[in-house]
Subunit: 335 residues, 2 copies
């Protein structure tokens, strides 16, 4: 009810109802110092009874929108639903709300516009944004980055243990007797050596494990086409090579599910990463690495709230991984 | 480059570079009257060269944020990825950006806060929000509602042809010889008779088709539990009833995919709705109604842009539907 009346209620109405000055109401709203508990209670009661909502734009100019922005280049990616779920859980019971900003093309612009008074803090999946630039951004607005293995000064990071996760996949496939194991990954820029993205690390671990196993000659890499939603054609191309792989380690579940489509009926073992909701489906049964995405999202939002409460030293959270073994690898022999 | 320098550039810098007053720059930025084409060009050139970005919050107070908000109760729903994709396509090449606001619980609050200066217009999936309330909201900010079969005065609607789509599913299942056909749908409030939601109409058509076919005695309805992500247990319960269905018409693909998990290996025909990306996967092969979600999202954003350009009379766009027949119904006999 109160919501419907909200737009006609002014700060003066609240002041009158609470029996205080407009300045006092303003102080309570912006959490300023010098407000007695009694005054806060009277004002908050009046705000609730009248259904008063201070203008979001006015709050934004003042420095508080009660919004946390989650920027992601892939709003469709199944793993992101875990992150969003976790972030939403973490802000439950706080005045904060999560909004999502899907980045198209260059992420600098999307991050800039979020920082530009729209949100109080940013959680971002922007693996390729320059660190120096991010440090500058973080001077203006609290920032938590997901999936960056860097060592920042001014922002926090939430990452999975990509070394352990990728190694678990490779150990599993090698243990099943596969020798021709291919890796299906993201386009070049995302996996550039040393760039610190999860996909760069998974690729590096794949190579290292193949070499350690004496299978350097069997290293085969296929990449999703930049801009294409699906990795199905990349996987299909892999399977028509002269010496096709008997197993594919896909860099994430969406690509693994595409690879399952490409490989349907061919008896190729396929493993993914992220343990998305679909992996456990009996018709999919995808072996995948659980890196606890919901917990990662929750940690990211929690760290952002800590920064909003004044923490400034950088924190880093690394989730542990666990391989979930399913029929996509166990029902297939290495040929 | 310009973006990185953006935050240090002020309106005074722009005025100086363009050789005009600060007031003139402000006029150009807010598209006010009384700006000569020459002045506009000089100011816009200076803005571009200096990388000036007026504060979003300031623009919001003035009434233009260049953002369109997409509110949805189910950010995880696979159908929403089609809507988001279409909306993003429609704003490509415009100054507008799409942001997503996932509603948790009551949608009034989420819509209010979007309207409260955050965005210039709202696309919303809020089937149960009161029409009178929406008409009020639409007086403050342009609104396009997705999936509401109502006849509004002040906002636009984008809907699918739920009557035709649901009838096509039922005709298909009846044509295959199924008599014990169940319907898996959303919780009660979403399908209340006459409430005009897509799910109310799909349920109504299901009932009507069963009765027309003389199968009124075989009507069986199961509902996803409110708050539960999955419809798997609802489908499983349906299959353990004394006279279990040989076919399930699920109200949308997410529920159909859950039903496939519940029915794995039992030879039950399952059809969904929305033709989400997963339906065509060879391991899923889900018969589903394509209601052109991408086009629906694009139309919604386009209609919103039209309203921002001054259109006030309400418009309604109804997409056509087409049944995509796959193995989830064709590989199963009616038992």
């Amino acid at each position: 009810m109160s919501i419907r009346r909200g737009r006609s209620v002014t700060i003066s109405d609240v002041a009158e109802a609470a029996g205080v000055s407009r300045a006092a109401v303003s102080k309570v709203i912006r959490n300023a110092y010098g407000v007695s508990p009694g005054m806060r209670e009277r004002v908050e009661d009046a705000i609730e009874q009248l259904g008063y909502r201070p203008s979001v734009a006015a709050r934004a100019l003042r420095g508080s929108s009660y919004r946390l922005g989650l920027e992601t280049p892939h709003v469709n990616a199944r793993f992101m639903t875990q992150i969003v779920e976790g972030a939403k859980r973490a802000v439950t019971g706080t005045p904060y709300q999560i909004i999502l900003a899907p980045a198209d093309g260059p992420e600098y612009g999307t991050l800039e516009s979020l920082a530009d008074g729209l949100v109080d803090g940013i959680i971002a999946v922007s693996p390729l944004v320059d660190q120096t630039w991010l440090e500058d951004l973080a001077k203006r607005v609290p920032v938590v980055m997901l999936g960056r293995h860097d060592t920042p000064q001014g922002y926090d990071t939430v990452i999975g243990d990509d070394h352990a996760g990728a190694r678990a996949v490779m150990r599993h496939l090698l243990g099943l007797g596969h020798r021709r194991i291919a890796h299906l990954t993201e386009p070049e820029p995302v996996t550039a050596p040393g760039c610190g993205t999860p996909h760069a690390i998974r690729l590096e671990v794949y190579r290292a494990c193949m070499i350690e196993a004496g299978l350097g000659a069997h290293i085969q890499i296929a990449r999703r086409t930049a801009g294409a939603d699906s990795a199905q054609s990349a996987a299909a191309e892999l399977l028509t090579r002269p010496d096709p792989p008997t197993a594919i380690f896909a860099g994430h579940d969406d690509m693994a599910v595409d690879a399952l489509a490409a490989a349907a009926g061919r008896g190729v073992a396929i493993a993914g990463y992220d343990n998305t909701d679909l992996a456990a489906h009996p018709l999919i049964g995808l072996t995948s690495v659980d890196q606890q995405g919901v917990e990662m999202g929750a940690q990211a939002a929690t760290m952002l709230l800590e920064r909003l409460q004044g923490r400034t030293e950088p924190r880093r959270y690394m989730s542990t991984t666990e391989l979930r073994i399913r029929t996509s690898t166990t029902s297939v022999s290495p040929g």
